[in-house]
Symmetry: C2
């Protein structure tokens, strides 16, 4: 009977560090976190010994870290089957690409903004808005859901007004009761002015907007995208302050034309602040 047991070839942390392209410090951390536990730890000296089999896992961790994937997420990926792992990697990477796309637009905006520091391209005007009844739908939501919510709710409100035999009394608008960004989720209220009382159903409310004066500026579809739209808000806020007024209510966007009927440089909506 021929039988011999080959001791598995173990590496010290230094040798394993070199063949895995991970720092010794990182390896000790991954051990502590349970992400990559040495094949053997000497009870006396505490020395960590890694087996050659562990090199693949270590290299995969190293490559995923180069993508800046957080360690928790890497741990999850390592527990998955190949196809699940590919899917999760795809999800992670599309998040990165999305965030880069947002920032790329921000850079373009900043370049224009820095060139013309001090100048404003926005023409701010004022108008009286009479008291009006409006059918509204309000919700707290994050950036991703925002434009879908506005489009859907506007549709729902229009349909309901028509079915009720009432008529709209002006363009729809959206009130931002709070900011919508990573930290804050609004709420946001989609409003449709109506000429007579309509029974609200579901999430709807019928309320009366008081008469007020508002400062506004008209922007194009192009300018309505983040981050360019920030400049429009700034322009109106700036006008209110420079003219010694005070903001009286939450900002709003008034949609006076339909999204699908215009080009990127046509007037699309007003950014407005009630003031006193």
């Amino acid at each position: 009977m021929m039988s011999h047991t080959t001791a598995p070839p173990l590496m010290t942390i230094g040798a394993f560090s070199r063949s895995s392209r991970l720092s010794v410090k990182a390896l000790r951390l991954y051990d502590q976190l349970g992400l990559l536990v040495p094949a053997r730890i000497d009870a006396d000296s505490g020395y960590r010994y890694y087996s050659a089999d562990q090199v693949d896992r270590a290299r995969l961790i190293s490559l995923l870290r180069r993508l800046d994937m957080p360690l928790q997420r890497i741990a999850a990926v390592l527990d998955m089957s190949a196809s699940e792992a590919v899917a999760e990697l795809g999800r992670f990477w599309s998040e990165v690409e999305e965030s880069v796309a947002v920032r790329r637009r921000l850079v373009a905006y900043l370049e224009r903004h820095l060139e013309g520091r001090g100048e404003t391209m926005y023409d701010v005007r004022t108008r009286q808005v009479p008291k009006q009844r409006a059918l509204t739908i309000q919700r707290a939501l994050t950036v991703e859901g925002l434009s879908d919510f506005i489009m859907e709710s506007t549709g729902v409100l229009y349909t309901h007004v028509e079915k009720s035999g009432a008529k709209t009394a002006g363009p729809s608008f959206v009130i931002y009761h709070g900011e919508v960004n990573e930290d804050s989720d609004g709420p946001v209220e989609v409003c449709l002015p109506v000429d007579s009382d309509v029974d609200p159903v579901g999430e709807m409310t019928l309320r009366t907007e008081p008469a007020h004066t508002e400062a506004y500026t008209t922007i194009t579809l192009q300018q309505c995208k983040f981050p360019g739209i920030l400049e429009a808000y700034s322009a109106v806020e700036g006008w209110i302050q420079e003219n010694g007024h005070e903001i009286a209510a939450s900002p709003r966007e008034v949609y006076f034309v339909e999204h699908s009927k215009i080009g990127p440089d046509d007037p699309f909506c007003d950014v407005a602040y009630p003031f006193r």
Copy 2:
């Protein structure tokens, strides 16, 4: 004589936080760092008061932070003229795009790699390499300079061999005495085998490479790019280990055809490890 001094309208940190889209905590940090110092600080209470003029600077900081620009770099940008600031922003952003491009390739590589976990697409062979004289140029350098260095040095060596009346005795190759990445700068040695002694000039050395056996795999121009090339190294290392051998010297890439004469999927070079 009509004269009145209007006290500049000052805001508390909370009000300024809302109009600048910066957190109160961030504002206190920026004060401490001297990046955005309040117009006035009450000596008794320590309360910070900001002037309306400071909103523009604060918003610019906020937008630059959304790009993940470090605070030190933001401070530098704020001190620049508009055109300098635009240039610096462009530099910063192209660094980001470059890093994303590298990671995008890495994702593509990882997707292929995960799908075929366990399989290797590389055919590893061995060959005897006789003792040979080579004219070499060695340098420590970073990733950016690497391919230029290889191309230039190869050209310099070929020219010098020709001028000396000697002949090349095989394809040029590059020895990676150390890794070339963010942490490590090689060194890297470009080598050209020669059939007779040549007087080295400048940075050159004439040395004799001992005879050895090497394991190698042939890769295409496409596969030679980071990060795909890592897999080729792994394949050869794996073969050496699985066959009970040991790596005997630094890895090398043997360039047996000219870069400009082939397509991306044609064989381009060998990745080789001497072993014993």
